[in-house]
């Protein structure tokens, strides 16, 4: 262990961690350039390094990119990566009212904390934790997706009916293309371009960012409030707020770690689940969606914790926990490293060097994040809109194209963006649509697989309702849906009972 700690702390490895975090943060901050892409681009460079150093570089870029997504989410209301969807919900309202600097600083500390929790879980309890990934079968993913969809009630900010309509719209969009399960070609209207379905990243950029851009041009107001001068990064204020929210911080980090372990879930689901739990248990529910610090803390700590969590099944079972992990797994194979339960014994020095490197990278994220964050905030809040809007416009076009070097994605992004802008005028938010789009395929595949398995075993009901983890998720879903009703009623009863 100590030996691994020392070899992770060599100047070369620390330099890799630093460069990785800086690169990752910048890539993640650009809408369209995701963590998966950052890792994929870097992979060939790591082949010349020894395995531990290569892994540290990849892990650092990955961590940085997941965090970098927060900037665009907070400052432009555009999740730079799907993992930052929940960050935009309260981060952007904070920026709107002039607390963008505070939101960026808080997101940095929350990310670092979540990242540390995830990496420590990987360091200390990886092998037993990995079995969680195996406990989740098709049925469990189905129920997890249903639980995720119940968050529409949370996200629709009072307009539940419109939220549900948006959710169904998203589910509908998710069925376009050739179905993984069943192989049917659906709603492509004979156009092979639609065969691959609606790609999530162009959809994210279109649905979130394009309406912001159009509003930026259509209104006179400044995009976000400018910072009062001489306020610095508001580190003290951020730390005080974090301390007040310590239970939320720890809970969200644990949620992120566990969701990261589940191969079909990922950062977006982790952030949303942590967000909804933070809201459910908060004393100030009405603040959520209007710039609640707790919302940013929950989302950012959870999505960063998925990095360490995702490495758990990747290294222990050879099952990639998240899409970037799949690429890292491929890189390991090329390096000739065989993952599996024996890895922690046979390749202990490589594995532990990597984990310590990941911890260092996470710590380095604090200064890097504060510095880049301050620059980004100043830039976005002081650049005139006449320059800002076209610059972001060009960036998102490049981002949508870069996903798969496919010009169709740019068209798709613009079309969905225009659509979202019109919907927004009628009070339909983007989040329920995105939720449907992300969770639709998970629910569909889980349901069909569960049905086929249940049918083969002659017990379909038992398959869906007879498994302990499924039942627990169902209970949580009901809790999320019914809790607001119950607490509303309690409040009303108390008010009634109180003397005039």
């Amino acid at each position: 262990m100590l030996e691994a700690l020392l070899s992770a702390a060599t100047p070369f490895n620390l330099m890799l961690a630093l460069i990785g975090v800086v690169l990752g943060t910048i890539i993640g901050a650009l809408p369209g350039l995701s963590a998966t892409m950052a890792v994929a681009v870097l992979v060939p460079f790591t082949f010349t390094m020894d395995p531990a150093s290569g892994l540290i570089a990849l892990g650092a870029v990955y961590t940085g990119a997941i965090y970098g997504g927060a900037y665009a989410a907070i400052l432009v209301n555009t999740p730079g990566t799907p993992a930052a969807i929940a960050t935009a919900l309260d981060g952007f309202p904070m920026a709107k009212r002039g607390d963008g600097d505070l939101a960026v600083t808080i997101s940095c500390f929350a990310s670092a904390f979540g990242g540390l929790v995830g990496a420590l879980a990987l360091l200390i309890v990886a092998p037993p934790l990995a079995t969680i990934a195996l406990k989740f079968g098709p049925v469990e993913y189905f129920w997890l997706a249903i639980f995720g969809l119940s968050l529409i009630a949370v996200l629709s900010k009072g307009a539940t009916l419109k939220g549900l309509i948006g959710g169904f719209l998203g589910l509908g969009l998710s069925t376009i293309g050739s179905a993984v399960v069943g192989g049917d070609v659906r709603y492509t209207f004979g156009n092979p371009v639609l065969l691959g379905g609606i790609h999530i990243i162009p959809a994210l950029i279109g649905l979130y960012c394009v309406p912001v851009l159009l509003n930026m041009v259509a209104t006179q107001d400044p995009h976000i409030e400018r910072a009062a001068t001489g306020r610095g990064t508001r580190v003290g204020e951020a730390l005080t707020l974090m301390w007040r929210s310590k239970f939320n911080l720890v809970r969200s980090s644990v949620v992120g770690t566990v969701v990261g372990i589940l191969p079909a879930a990922g950062g977006a689901v982790a952030g949303l689940v942590a967000y909804s739990e933070a809201r459910r248990t908060s004393k100030h529910k009405d603040q959520f969606g209007k710039g609640a610090v707790d919302g940013v803390i929950a989302s950012e700590s959870a999505n960063s914790a998925t990095v360490g969590g995702g490495f758990v099944p990747t290294l222990v079972l050879g099952i990639p926990g998240t899409p970037p992990d799949a690429i890292i797994l491929g890189a390991l194979m090329v390096q000739g490293i065989r993952v599996g339960p024996q890895l922690f014994v046979e390749q202990a020095s490589t594995v532990y060097t990597f984990i310590f490197g990941l911890l260092f990278a996470t710590v380095l994220m604090i200064p890097v994040g504060l510095l880049i964050g301050r620059t980004a905030f100043r830039a976005i809040s002081s650049i005139p809109k006449a320059v800002l809007a076209p610059s972001i416009g060009v960036l998102i076009m490049i981002g949508a194209f870069a996903v798969e070097q496919n010009p169709t994605h740019v068209v798709m992004m613009v079309a969905l963006g225009a659509f979202a802008w019109i919907l927004l005028k009628f009070g339909f938010e983007a989040s329920p649509i995105v939720l449907g789009l992300i969770l639709g395929p998970i629910a569909e595949q889980g349901f069909v697989q569960g049905y086929l398995i249940g049918n083969a075993g002659g017990n379909i009901w038992g398959e869906f309702f007879g498994r302990p983890i499924s039942l627990a998720i169902i209970a949580f879903t009901l809790l999320t849906l019914l809790w607001p009703l119950w607490s509303d009623r309690k409040t009303r009863m108390r008010l009634k009972g109180a003397p005039e």
Partner: protein
């Protein structure tokens, strides 16, 4: 000027001789003239991506040009294959292809391309089919599984990668040759199907040897679809040993856009064949569970016809299902 010592002289002589005896190398000076764009129709980290990355350094070594691996996933590969013939037909854009996918997909649905639209220049390996179960599974041998499937028709679940894929086809071929009824459960890729085997949600995976190698001691491979046993899985019997005539899997090749000059196609075929001949490349492939094969340009039409015939009955069954 530095003079060559005897050993260097000998090496130069051998190299010159080798170059002269391989027409591909001599012409390779004019082709490729710039970086090669190697498109993979699947996500990074999968078998197509990994084997392309195995080829990459050798390709660069032989041609002196860099190879850029680019991922264009979607619709089980169909998105990229439907776009293949839209690229510049000069040999600098090449695309990974898979049989049976490019035979099966157009036969089942309108996917924007036909099997004949794919101009393959070389098939460099196949990833053999394999039946994989959890190490704790009651099935010790393939016969145990077959017996159970016969006693309880439809109750044995086979997980595999997607619908109308190599795994799906293999499970149909399996049902056909063992005269059993099993339930095929499609997953989003071979990795999630293996996860379900490890988690015990499904009875077995109709997967690939590579997955059996990757999962190591957590699984038992009951049969592999090769002529000889696979080096990386020495304990797994071949279907042939067990009395079933089944050899095959996912055959991976390289295709070029329609209209690419025959000379360049031949060049590419030669380069890929040369990579296949490299012992270092072979060792990497074999260790991971892949079977290296040479199907050069001239043999492609016969190879595709032979595969189409082999898949015929199973495709008919899938269509009627």
């Amino acid at each position: 000027m530095k003079t060559l010592n005897r050993r260097q002289f000998g090496q130069t002589l051998i190299a010159t001789g080798a170059a002269a005896s391989m027409p591909g190398i001599v012409r390779a000076q004019s082709f490729p003239s710039r970086a090669i764009n190697y498109i993979i129709p699947f996500n990074p980290g999968g078998e197509s991506d990994v084997t392309a990355r195995f080829q990459q350094p050798f390709f660069e070594q032989i041609t002196g040009q860099s190879v850029v691996i680019q991922s264009k996933p979607g619709a089980g590969g169909a998105t990229a294959w439907a776009q293949l013939n839209g690229f510049e037909p000069d040999g600098h854009t090449i695309m990974n292809t898979i049989v049976p996918h490019t035979v099966l997909q157009p036969a089942m649905k309108d996917v924007g391309y036909q099997t004949a639209d794919i101009n393959n220049v070389f098939f460099f390996h196949y990833t053999p089919d394999a039946v994989v179960v959890n190490v704790d599974s009651p099935y010790q041998t393939l016969q145990d599984l077959i017996d159970d499937a016969k006693a309880n028709p439809g109750s044995v679940t086979f997980g595999g990668s997607g619908t109308n894929t190599a795994n799906h086809l293999a499970s149909e071929i399996f049902a056909d040759m063992t005269d059993t009824i099993t339930t095929y459960i499609p997953f989003k890729g071979s990795a999630p199907a293996m996860t379900a085997v490890l988690g015990g949600q499904i009875a077995a995976a109709m997967s690939y040897t590579t997955q059996g190698v990757k999962a190591g001691e957590q699984v038992r491979t009951l049969a592999v679809a090769t002529e000889e046993r696979v080096a990386a899985l020495p304990d797994a019997p071949t279907f042939k040993e067990l009395g079933f005539d089944h050899v095959g899997g996912a055959y991976r090749g390289v295709a070029v856009p329609a209209g690419t000059p025959t000379e360049i196609q031949q060049n590419l075929s030669d380069i890929l064949q040369q990579i296949n001949a490299n012992p270092e490349f072979q060792a990497q492939m074999t260790a991971a569970g892949y079977e290296v094969i040479d199907v050069p340009l001239g043999d492609i039409p016969a190879f595709i016809e032979e595969r189409k015939t082999a898949y015929g009955p199973a495709i008919d069954r899938l269509k009627s299902a």
